[in-house]
């Protein structure tokens, strides 16, 4: 039986059910169930977070000034973004204004995180969905060198370099320790790259792995340490003394120069390695334009990277803010994260309990009470799920909606919004990319479009880091050395009952923390993380979420090796640990185990 969803998708759950679990390569548990028709095309998709979210319970009654240290632990990959969102929420509640230098430094840190996350995502979490490592073993190093030099002026491109690398890869693979390369579907018919392109990509996989360590030094300089850098309500936890010397104490010119050189290398690596690789790989997959899902209809961005400190309005945010619904690109709606009618979370299909589940709740009113029950068509046992019933409750993710609409968030959403707003720094790179690949604008709304938008954003972020670095240094040289405002540090200076919201654009999409402070302590803390938007289950009206929509109509070459599903879901850069928590080590039924 075919169902038409209110948000415009046709679902048919009659065919064979295939379960994929888990699908993230790092933190988190995500489970997907799809129904295939007799030609192995996906006709129904069900996305489930098999973990329980509950950061609000941990933070209840804590000191709001420490909340960033807790939320930084939610997830291994967006640590800094959670911390930044948290300090912004507290500053919003207490009306704390941060100094300009603190704004520039936070922007540099957030942009460094974007660059780091996008680069690591592309090479280490997503490239292997497009790149066949085993095929790289049969590449001709000379031809690889020719290919490399035809796409970039990056110096590591000699035949000898690729020969040595291939040798290393061969001995690594033959030693049996496949490590990051195990569980790949090597030789799968959906891989389209010639061996030389595969070898080139593997070489850059290793170079990126080596380079990423330098990017996080920016966090070590400004946050005092890495991993887990320090943050501060009211500014940043580092003093600056341009004339200082040595490696301890206040940040001096020597350390700023280190940051500057890393930023330059980020720009260079992105422009000479990441973007050329992205374009080269994409050119072999122009015919594979599946996975668009919600992106051509409904996208959302809160915006981020404030030009001036303390102004979070759309006009002051360099990453665009807005919402597009029903594919109407000509009309970008304003977004108000405080409006109780705009952002709401529903639990009709989530393992939580609301007094009235036909209604959504704004996060300031949010409640988190678990209710692990199954629909009537559920198969298996609660501790050993065979297949879920999407007609009932089926996910530990709540269903966030913007004015009732399921929305896609992330780099593609941000770039579509920037494009629709005719902002040259978003529109021009998108048009140049489409032209270089010779594909129509509709190609943007696809898995490949999502992956390409992330690359363009990495380049944008690297350049913006330089912009804010120069702005920071100019301001310091003008004599303004302030990095923190501690005027309201003492809780006795706070109102007794106050609410606040902080938002950022995490690498993987819109992130918001809504807090309620009473008597100097946290009374409620609700997060809506990007993967909750994208991985959302259905809502009371039956609208499906971004992951679910993205999988529809995708053909699988081999249902036992669902590479196509991974490719699309990985393109969202999901991080389920953010949204949820491990339910039970036995609570998963793995039909197809993938990484």
């Amino acid at each position: 039986m075919t169902i038409q969803t209110p948000n415009g998708f046709k679902l048919d759950s009659a065919g064979r059910r295939v379960v994929v679990d888990p699908v993230t390569r790092i933190e988190g548990h995500l489970r997907l169930e799809v129904n295939l028709d007799d030609r192995n095309v996906i006709r129904n998709a069900v996305s489930t977070g098999t973990m329980w979210r509950g950061i609000e319970l941990i933070l209840k009654d804590r000191d709001p000034r420490d909340a960033w240290a807790f939320v930084q632990r939610i997830c291994g990959v967006c640590t800094g973004t959670h911390a930044l969102t948290s300090v912004r929420a507290v500053e919003d509640a207490l009306a704390i204004k941060i100094p300009e230098n603190a704004n520039s430094i936070r922007n540099i840190m957030q942009l460094a995180l974007q660059v780091h996350d996008h680069l690591v995502h592309f090479y280490h979490l997503h490239a292997l969905d497009w790149v066949d490592v085993v095929s790289a073993l049969s590449a001709d190093p000379k031809e690889t060198s020719v290919l490399a030099q035809s796409i970039s002026s990056w110096p590591l491109a000699s035949a000898g370099y690729f020969r040595d690398l291939q040798q290393r890869l061969k001995s690594f693979v033959s030693s049996g320790q496949l490590g990051p390369f195990k569980n790949g579907y090597w030789g799968h018919p959906a891989y389209k790259l010639p061996p030389e392109a595969n070898l080139l990509a593997v070489a850059h996989y290793l170079e990126a792995l080596d380079f990423q360590k330098d990017i996080v030094k920016i966090h070590a300089v400004f946050g005092g340490k890495n991993p887990h850098p320090n943050w501060l309500v009211g500014g940043v936890p580092c003093a600056i003394n341009l004339d200082g010397t040595g490696a301890v104490g206040a940040i001096n010119m020597e350390r700023l120069n280190l940051v500057s050189s890393i930023i330059d290398r980020c720009i260079e690596f992105t422009e000479k390695v990441y973007i050329p690789d992205l374009m080269a790989i994409a050119s072999f997959y122009k015919d594979w334009l599946h996975g668009g899902g919600l992106s051509s209809r409904s996208v959302l961005s809160y915006g981020d990277i404030p030009e001036q400190a303390n102004d979070y309005s759309a006009k002051n945010l360099l990453l665009p803010q807005g919402a597009i619904i029903d594919g109407k690109l000509a009309e970008v709606h304003a977004v108000d994260v405080r409006n109780p009618q705009e952002i709401q979370e529903f639990v009709t299909h989530s393992w939580y309990k609301y007094p009235d589940e036909t209604k959504g709740l704004h996060p300031w009113e949010g409640v988190t009470e678990a209710n692990f029950v199954m629909g009537p068509n559920f198969k298996g046992a609660k501790t050993k799920i065979e297949s879920l019933d999407e007609g009932g409750k089926y996910s530990y993710l709540k269903a966030p909606r913007w004015k009732g609409h399921a929305m896609e968030v992330g780099p593609l959403a941000r770039w579509i919004i920037g494009y629709a707003q005719n902002k040259p720094e978003f529109k021009e790179p998108v048009e140049a990319t489409l032209k270089a690949l010779d594909v129509p604008v509709t190609a943007l709304f696809s898995t490949l479009g999502r992956t390409a938008a992330r690359g363009l954003e990495c380049q944008w972020a690297a350049r913006k880091m330089k912009y804010f670095f120069d702005k920071l240094v100019a301001n310091l040289k003008s004599g303004d050395l302030a990095t923190a405002n501690t005027g309201k540090w003492d809780p006795s200076s706070w109102p007794s009952d106050v609410k606040g919201v902080g938002f950022t654009e995490a690498p993987r999409g819109a992130l918001g923390h809504w807090i309620h402070i009473t008597q100097g302590r946290l009374a409620n803390y609700q997060c809506i993380v990007p993967t909750t938007w994208n991985g959302s289950p259905r809502d009371p009206d039956g609208n499906i979420g971004a992951f679910e929509a993205s999988l529809l109509d995708t053909p699988l070459a081999d249902p036992h090796k669902p590479l196509e599903i991974l490719r699309t879901i990985h393109s969202f850069d999901p991080c389920l640990a953010c949204s949820t928590h491990v339910m039970s080590p036995d609570g998963e039924t793995t039909r197809v185990t993938v990484r």
Partner: protein
């Protein structure tokens, strides 16, 4: 050197004592809590670093790649009795880190070791002190009593391995000025001190 990195984030140690896991997930926090306690009680010679690796996964590769010796503490599912401690060495470490996963950071850590070796580095000697977890589904909870009781013996096993490597941990004098490894109320005592409404009324 608390983070195993100099002020610019460059790995500097030859020996890394690494705790991994998520402190928000009950017994999953074991590894981090062990290194927190080691750091609280002992000072270590230059070149030996204690690191709270959290769930950083692949992002730990530069630290693992740079050292000659690696001592890891973690909660592992061996399918044994809860609280069972087990030490595995060298070549066996990746195999054990690939045991039935508790959280995906372990799959990540196995990959970290492989990635370090693919980058042409990685430790000559590695040891893993693992505990069989009792409880994980207590989001926002802390270590179970069973697993908490294994912190002390795990430290003992770790110190023995360090001694074998020629590394002597020196008990700290009280108030030597060294701060907590985990600050801002997420140290074990702070984490477990649940402020209650009554306190502030």
């Amino acid at each position: 050197m608390r983070t195993g990195a100099d002020d610019f984030g460059e790995p500097t140690a030859h020996t890394l004592i690494l705790g991994i896991g998520n402190i928000l997930w009950a017994d999953e926090g074991f590894g981090v809590r062990v290194v927190e306690e080691i750091h609280r009680r002992f000072s270590l010679p230059a070149g030996v670093s204690v690191m709270d690796g959290g769930t950083q996964g692949l992002y730990l590769v530069q630290y693992v790649k740079a050292v000659r010796r690696l001592l890891v503490f973690d909660a592992i599912d061996y399918g044994a009795e809860p609280g069972t401690l087990r030490v595995v060495r060298d070549g066996e470490v990746p195999t054990f880190m690939g045991c039935r996963k508790l959280s995906l950071h372990q799959t990540g850590f196995q990959d970290v070791l492989a990635a370090a070796s693919l980058l042409g580095g990685g430790p000559e000697s590695a040891a893993l002190v693992g505990v069989q977890a009792e409880r994980l589904d207590d989001w926002g909870g802390s270590l179970t009593e069973t697993v908490r009781g294994r912190i002390e013996p795990a430290i003992g096993l770790g110190l023995e391995i360090l001694r074998e490597w020629g590394v002597e941990a020196i008990p700290r004098q009280a108030a030597d000025g060294e701060g907590l490894l985990l600050g801002h109320d997420i140290d074990l005592a702070g984490y477990e001190r649940r402020p209650i409404l009554a306190e502030r009324r």
